[in-house]
């Protein structure tokens, strides 16, 4: 049974608590992504599940037992590390078979399982190579092979793609997804890249500062971000934010006095709010919020427009091509249900996170 239940997990280093009580229930066969900026505790949590870090408080269940005091090797998990962590002096075959050899699995069985994993990952012709004779993508595949061979209850991935170049990352991403669909093994995947999390996972858990900001299916997080942080973190290019006072329930007054009409008021009746609209949810219309175009970037399938709205930089993504030119004034509107309203707060700087390698 590949269920993982985390109950109020806490982690302290000395007197500093870095994980403040995290609870997640993961079903058998589910693919869960833990995502968040660096220092949010996602890797620490994964390492606690793996048994590489002590659990300061709370409980972690794998299957139907509490594993707090169980050694990593007895937790029936396999982990794929960011730097692959292959044994440099062992060839691919020995790397993949090492865990089984430690368990005294008969040689013929090891051979058969290694061959099978190598076939799934397309590594058959590399079995006798040493890690240093492999490319980054191949090493990552070997690391995954080492995990598959053990046929564990849970796969743990710790930012496995962040050392690969952009093109390879996209390719390996779909390979991991394919692998999961094929093996249906419970997978916990740590990443700082929200796109990886969105594309791979059945469920995304957004961590920030050692607590869960929000969890849910990827599109649920995209459609209904529970906080400004999640709104800023999920989606690329990131959501636009405008902070101001809400007067007469439907009029947003920005700091410089600009008045913007909102199609609907705030159901919670707050007076000081931050309004968020995703670039792809803006529409160019006759009468909307006026903005001055500064940059137009066509990519063929879509065009990104950067504009200034009362001193705020606003990004707009329109389908196909547009006749808009820099210097022009455009009018932006959005459907009422695509305008998100949050408590006023400084926008977290998470937009560049996806570029951190």
């Amino acid at each position: 049974m590949g269920t993982v239940n985390i109950r109020d997990a806490r982690k302290s280093y000395g007197s500093v608590e870095v994980l403040h009580g995290v609870s997640i229930d993961i079903e058998d066969g589910e693919f869960v992504a833990l995502v968040g900026p660096s220092g949010c505790g996602k890797s620490t949590l994964l390492r606690m599940i793996a048994g590489l870090e002590d659990i300061t408080g709370g409980e972690i269940h794998i299957g139907d037992r509490v594993v707090n005091d169980v050694a990593p090797k007895d937790r029936d998990i396999a982990m794929v590390f960011q730097n692959y962590a292959l044994y440099p002096h062992k060839n691919v075959r020995e790397n993949m078979g090492f865990a089984l050899r430690q368990r005294r699995v008969p040689r013929a069985d090891i051979e058969q399982r290694v061959t099978e994993a190598a076939r799934i990952l397309g590594l058959e012709h590399l079995l006798d190579r040493k890690p240093r004779q492999l490319s980054g993508g191949q090493r990552q595949r070997v690391a995954m092979g080492r995990a598959i061979v053990r046929d564990p209850n849970v796969f743990l991935f710790d930012e496995p793609l962040s050392n690969l170049d952009a093109k390879l990352r996209v390719q390996m991403r779909s390979e991991i997804k394919e692998l999961h669909q094929r093996l249906k093994t419970t997978t916990i995947y740590v990443t700082h890249d929200q796109i990886e999390a969105m594309t791979l996972a059945d469920r995304v858990v957004v961590l920030n500062g050692g607590v869960i900001e929000q969890e849910g299916p990827p599109l649920e997080l995209y459609d209904n971000p529970a906080s400004l942080f999640v709104a800023a973190f999920i989606g690329s290019p990131p959501m636009n934010f405008l902070e101001g006072d809400l007067v007469d329930n439907t009029c947003l007054v920005l700091s410089d006095g600009t008045r913007l009409e909102l199609p609907a008021g705030d159901p919670k009746g707050r007076s000081r709010i931050t309004v968020g609209v995703r670039p792809e949810h803006f529409e160019l219309s006759e009468n909307g919020w006026p903005a001055t175009v500064s940059v137009v970037e066509p990519t063929g399938s879509e065009t990104q427009i950067t504009a200034r709205l009362a001193g705020n930089v606003v990004r707009v993504l329109v389908r196909g091509r547009t006749a808009v030119r820099p210097g022009e004034t455009i009018h932006l509107s959005a459907a009422p249900d695509l305008i998100h309203i949050f408590d006023a707060a400084p926008v977290p700087e998470v937009a560049e996170m996806e570029d951190v390698a």
Partner: protein, 308 residues
């Protein structure tokens, strides 16, 4: 590039002058160290080689008449020289592996985080900074057959009393113990640094893969450490072939010639028997032997690195 070539004609003379000036500046910066190196390193070596091919002239304290290979022939037929080489070899063959294994073993054991590790590391440096002659004298007292504390302790477990410096085998053991006491900490420090520099995630992968302590050591740590172990061995080898001071202070080659290492023998021949030319010849032979063996070790360690 093309514009530079076009200008080369009219500017050639000043550029050459500039280049000579540049060369002059460079060499004048290097000159002091070159002079120092020649005076301190090259001259003694050439002096030694020179007198090894000559009859030594006590009056001028330099090379006298050229005698070709005669000095070499003489020392090669001297059984005492071969005996001292054999003593050195025995010492090296036992002491070097012992120190390297012990050093890396201790480093592996104390690698875990624990309180007081810093203090223990600081204590480890003490043997290295103690002057070798002092170390020899200190151990002379510790190993003294009558009042030495070693025999007192060994008495508790029913061993001894042992005549540490009187018995030929025990005397060699004493030298090796003292040398090991002095140099193992150095290896521990190197090994600790090497262990800290190893990739952590490989060890974590081994933990998850279910490797126990023993197979972590043999399948992960040792192969990763091979380059460092080989380098440490060569460094320690270079130090150990010079073995002189501890023997001088502890046993003075005795009893008989049991601990008479080749350097002590050469020293004795030169400054006791005043056979400077012959000892120069021996010194040159030892130098060449050392260089050849060092070259072999370096090659061997490189091969070993490729293997892993």
């Amino acid at each position: 590039m093309t514009s530079e070539k076009a200008q080369a004609g009219p500017n050639a003379a000043p550029r050459r002058r500039r280049r000579i000036g540049d060369l002059f500046v460079r060499w004048s910066f290097m000159a002091p160290s070159i002079v120092l190196l020649i005076a301190l390193l090259a001259y003694p070596i050439f002096y030694t080689i020179d007198i090894s091919f000559s009859r030594f002239d006590i009056a001028t304290f330099g090379a006298g008449e050229w005698v070709g290979w005669e000095n070499y022939r003489e020392v090669m037929s001297d059984y005492r020289f071969w005996d001292s080489l054999e003593v050195t070899l025995i010492y090296l063959v036992i002491a070097l592996p012992l120190q390297v294994v012990l050093g890396f073993g201790i480093a592996f054991l104390i690698n875990a985080e624990w309180k007081g590790r810093g203090l223990v590391r600081a204590l480890f440096i003490i043997p290295m900074v103690v002057a070798p002659v002092v170390a020899g004298g200190m151990w002379r007292m510790i190993l003294d057959p009558l009042w030495g504390i070693m025999n007192y302790w060994l008495g508790f477990i029913g061993i001894g009393p042992l005549d540490w410096f009187g018995d030929p085998t025990l005397a060699m053991a004493s030298i090796i113990i003292i040398d090991t006491w002095r140099w193992t900490p150095f290896i521990v420090l190197i090994a600790t640094a090497a262990l800290l520099a190893l990739p952590k995630d490989v060890f974590e992968a081994a933990r998850i893969d279910g490797a126990n302590w023993w197979s972590t050591l043999w399948s992960v740590a040792v192969p990763l450490l091979v380059p460092v172990i080989a380098a440490t061995f060569v460094i320690r080898w270079l130090g150990a072939v010079k073995m002189f001071d501890i023997v001088l202070a502890a046993t003075y080659g005795g009893p008989g010639k049991a601990t008479n290492v080749v350097n002590l023998f050469i020293y004795e021949e030169a400054f006791r028997s005043l056979r400077f030319a012959e000892s120069a010849a021996m010194a040159v032979i030892v130098l060449i032997l050392t260089m050849v063996l060092t070259g072999l070790f370096l090659r061997g360690s490189r091969k070993l690195e490729e293997l892993f």
